[in-house]
Amino acid sequence: MYEGVVQDLIDELGRLPGVGPKSAQRIAFHLLQSDPVDVRRLVAALVEVTEKVRFCELCGNVSAEDQCRICRDPRRDAAVLCVVEEPKDVVAIEKTREFRGRYHVLGGAISPIEGIGPDDLRVKELVTRLASGEVTEIILATDPNLEGEATATYLARLLKPMGLKVTRLASGLPVGGDLEYADELTLGRAFEGRRLLDV
């Protein structure tokens, strides 16, 4: 144990995701030895993030204003909506530059073990958003794991009766990889999802 404030800092850092007690200690001592100007800049960034960043009132993505950059952009296709679990998934899809529609961030996936049901996700907001009839296609881009698949099934059953086109991201082989290195589950999925080649 270290003296008062140092131990407080280590405890606080240790509560961050991916940071264990050893890493927390290392970061704390790094901060103690850093130029105070650098540390102030970090403090300012932390304060700013807590005070200024909000969640977009439409899609739930992180935003500096009431609505996020993507929701405000008139060039985005308002007819297609991509449903993801976390704001970081928006960033991942944006990097592809393939998708020109808008997003809806659920804030997680259905997982009864962790006590997360549809009411804990932004499902009600999604249904409200669809009421205007502007959106015609929903792309379900939840994670391809058990909880993500269950969330996708739940949403598909909820949204299909509303007359929407509901699609799910494909699962299969990584591009640029070797077939022989794919695990059997992925390869099995790729077989199920095979498509006709047009030549």
């Binding site: 259905i110 997982s111 009864p112 073990i113 009411d119 698949e149 269950a150 099934t153 695990d183």
Partner: protein, 381 residues
Amino acid sequence: MHVTHLSLTDFRSYPTAEVPLDPGVTALVGPNGQGKTNLVEAVGYVATLGSHRVSTDAPLVRLGAQRAVVRAAIARAGRSTLVELELVPGGANRARVNRAPVPRAREVLGVLRTVLFAPEDLALVKGDPVGRRRFLDELLVALAPRFAGVRSDYDRVLRQRNALLKSAGATIRAGRGDVRTLDVWDSHLAEAGAELLAARLHLVDDLTPYVRNAYAAVSRAGTDVDLRYRSGLGDDVGDGPPPGRDELRDRLLEAMARSRATELDRGVSLVGPHRDELVLSLGPFPARGYASHGECWSLALALRLAGYELLRADAAAGDGEPVLVLDDVFAELDAGRRRRLAELVSGAEQVLVTAAVPEDVPDSLAGARIDVADGEVRRVR
């Protein structure tokens, strides 16, 4: 296939051990508590990534050590493969095949195949259904490693569904909760359950003739052995030709719909392959509860030998026949059964036998002999 070399570091009682092995019979001989079973347990771990004695890895690591390492050189079809496993209790195990790391330890499944028979296997006949379900599932994984993934998917869906039944049960019964979430887990459980169930049904069909043969060969009794898979979906599922996956999925869904009220009441999943039973019978009687001690031994042994023969028949595909491990088995058998078991296994590519005294190993199984005493492993023949 056979193991040509086994090397241990901080595994069980061994700080280090180097054990060169030959094809054919090898007897590991030493007084009780000296570490014979630890050696065959390590061989089994390389094949199944689990121990036949304990369900967690912690007891496998020597007291005071952080991790254990098991290395096995395996000869298959004239090629040598080196599998290295690092066991880290509470963490993820790491694996290397021919010195190259593999992303998941699960990928070493299938490199070495073993069939292990140990005194604990008496529970296959006398114990609870969970042991017999595990027997079937382990054999499925040995035949097709893909089923390790099917099984763990099913277990995860089951845990999620049980958590939901427990938490949502009260609100749904009061008419306030949302049953649509439960519908979703029902469909996922039915999907994964149907795949597991279909595979088990086919396995029981394939296995039955081998069990009958092995039982007749070991016991020399004319008693008729029968295996019946009992599914909660109805007796017709286990009798007659196995229904297809789609039919099983639909029937699982129907069964869940029927028992929904009870499941919500009790907060657990009552339908699915996790509740099924493999009924073993000798003549007109179920073996469990009716069979004598000797009959139970013969039947447990017949189940393992049948698994061995099934894998061996499958080895025509080029995987090489499995390594047979008989842990402390001969001491429990009478002279006739001992002799017949020795005859049955003498043709195997590699057999590892453990015994407390050399007299326990039948003369017809004379082969290499390794003495184990005080954690020292010494080849004497």
